[in-house]
């Protein structure tokens, strides 16, 4: 099946001379959730802005379902809904009016039934006659999503959908994104939270300093680069570890109080239970244990090392 978004050789140099994107190519598959992962300033938002028409590309080409975003922008943009990163809303308009406005702006006839359905899906129906300035940040974020969905797009861009959002709302947001995907909408989101990409995405593109350094299935990326460490604090410092534990590739801290075990998180058994049993059997009682996931930075380091 042809990709729904095809980016080829895209570069963007801002007027200041800053090169935000450098020869980026990417294909997003129909109906998937695709996460663009990268640190702040990596070029995630610039890439979205170019595809959606907010920024112009210096070089390269983007096709949205076969429509060129420059020469055939009407067809391309009609398919896209964009939720920007910042909470940019009007102040004095009502929720219902602003969502209806978005539908019209995107060239669709008035349809109160669709607007109602979108507002209900986002738990905004009770707030339909409230003015935007009276809403909380979380509600405004929902309004932006409602505006993006008002014209029933087939592709939804979510730029940092959960930046600055509390835990509960983040869960709601993830639920919502999955629901949209199930209804057939292709979703492209940017995030700098590894967890978010892990929870939602089927495929992940890792972008850094304007370059797409890796595009792969989430499971493959996690398998290749995601590691979990289990740190076991011992009751008494150990000078060295007995031979019976050699198979676990443990690392003993310099002061002898902690043992670090690195495990594969994707396998059926992490081996933690066996390790704790073996420690017990070797007469090394443990006091406590904690886990540590690879941070995004560590994954980046892993990917970059892997590249070179």
């Amino acid at each position: 099946m042809s990709p729904i978004v095809a980016v080829s050789g895209l570069s963007k140099v801002y007027a200041s001379g800053f090169r935000a994107l450098n020869d980026v190519s990417l294909e997003v598959r129909r109906g998937e959730i695709f996460a663009l992962l990268g640190p702040n300033g990596a070029g995630k938002t610039t890439l979205i802005n170019v595809i959606c028409g907010i920024a112009t590309a210096t070089q390269g080409r983007v096709l949205v379902d076969g429509h060129d975003i420059v020469t055939d922008y009407r067809a391309a943009r009609a398919m896209i809904g964009l939720v920007p990163q910042e909470l940019t809303t009007d102040a004095f308009e009502t929720v219902r009016a602003t969502v209806s406005f978005s539908r019209g702006l995107f060239g669709r006839p008035r349809n109160p039934a669709v607007v109602e359905r979108v507002l209900r899906a986002l738990s905004l129906w009770d707030k339909r006659d409230s003015t935007l300035m009276t809403l909380s940040g979380g509600m405004k974020r929902r309004v932006l999503i409602a505006k993006a969905l008002a014209h029933e797009p087939q592709i939804l861009f979510l730029d940092e959908p959960t930046a600055g959002v509390d835990v509960e709302l983040r869960q709601d947001m993830w639920q919502l994104v999955r629901g949209l995907r199930d209804s057939g909408v292709t979703i492209i989101l940017t995030t700098h939270y590894l967890e978010e990409a892990e929870q939602l995405a089927e495929r992940i593109g890792v972008i850094d300093k304007g370059e797409m350094i890796l595009v792969d299935g989430k499971d493959d990326i996690m398998r290749r680069f995601g590691k979990r460490s289990i740190i076991v604090r011992l009751q008494a410092p150990a000078a060295r570890l007995p031979e019976s534990l050699a198979g676990y590739a443990l690392a003993l801290s310099p002061d002898g109080t902690e043992v670090t075990y690195t495990c594969d998180t994707t396998g059926p058994d992490t081996g933690v239970r066996a390790l704790l049993g073996a420690l017990d059997a070797a007469g090394i009682p443990f006091a406590d244990l904690r886990t540590k996931e690879s941070s995004l930075e560590e994954i980046f380091v892993g990917i970059l090392r892997n590249q070179s």
């Binding site: 028409g53 940019t88 505006k147």
Partner: protein, 253 residues
């Protein structure tokens, strides 16, 4: 053609007018009416008529033009500046809507508002001064052309401005003085030489002269020149706004 998009922008702007009825309609009508009361009824009775037109009636086209210019510019410039200022412009830029359609929505709404305002002011003026309209067709033509042209000019200012001060700069420091000096309160042949020649460099002279001709059949310059100047300014604005959208000037990153 995205007519639903044009209608959405137009409707949004007209809703903004309704929300701010006091400042957008009532206030300009009131301030213009004050001129009619002071110059038309109070002082006007002591001033000699100009070419057989009483002074109060003489100043009506000029004052109307002043309101049309300032209000068209204010409406359209704020209309497009506000979404740029708060950031909601992202939606216009990402929508399947052409530059021409965006302009049609904003400028159409700003011009509509100015025309409504103009009609109310004419009606109000009729209460205070002996008003007559010799060439109603021309009057309507000038009204429509001026409202459209200066709404377009306001739109350009709204894109050019990158702060609120700049938004006010041209209306307050250029348009208002040019209108006052452009023959609102006098006929330019009342000016001494060389001012009666220098004043012809002021484009607003042509607007007011043509507009006054449509009311009383007298003009400082020929009505054809007035019309040509208005159309030339309209075309100039269209070219400029076309360039702004083509290059993404202050709109796109």
């Amino acid at each position: 053609m995205n007519l639903y998009g044009v209608r959405a922008i137009y409707g949004y702007e007209m809703a903004r007018t309704r929300r701010t009825l006091l400042q957008s309609i009532v206030s300009p009508v009131l301030s213009t009416s004050l001129y009619f009361v002071v110059f038309g009824s109070a002082i006007g009775s002591r001033m000699s008529s100009i070419d057989g037109v009483s002074y109060g009636a003489f100043i009506v086209p000029g004052l109307l033009m002043l309101s049309l210019l300032t209000q068209s510019i204010a409406n359209a410039s704020f209309g497009i500046y506000f979404p740029r200022f708060v950031g909601t412009i992202y939606e216009h830029l990402s929508a399947p809507i052409s530059a021409f359609e965006i302009v049609a929505g904003y400028v159409g709404a700003a011009a509509t508002k100015s025309i409504i305002l103009g009609v109310i002011i004419i009606a109000t003026a009729g209460l205070f001064v002996p008003l007559r309209i010799d060439h109603p067709g021309w009057m309507i033509l000038f009204l429509l052309l001026t409202a459209t042209t200066f709404s377009l000019f306001g739109f350009i200012i709204g894109i050019w401005a990158d702060n609120f001060e700049k938004l006010q700069l041209i209306p307050l420091l250029i348009v208002t003085p040019l209108t006052f000096l452009g023959g609102t309160f006098y006929s330019i042949d009342m000016l001494p030489a060389p001012w009666n020649r220098i004043v012809l460099l002021n484009p607003v002279v042509y607007l007011i002269s043509g507009f006054r001709w449509s009311f009383y059949g007298r003009a400082d310059v020929s009505v054809g020149i007035s019309l040509a100047m208005t159309v030339a300014f309209l075309v100039g604005c269209l070219v400029l706004v076309g360039w702004m959208f083509r290059t993404g000037y202050r709109l796109k990153k």
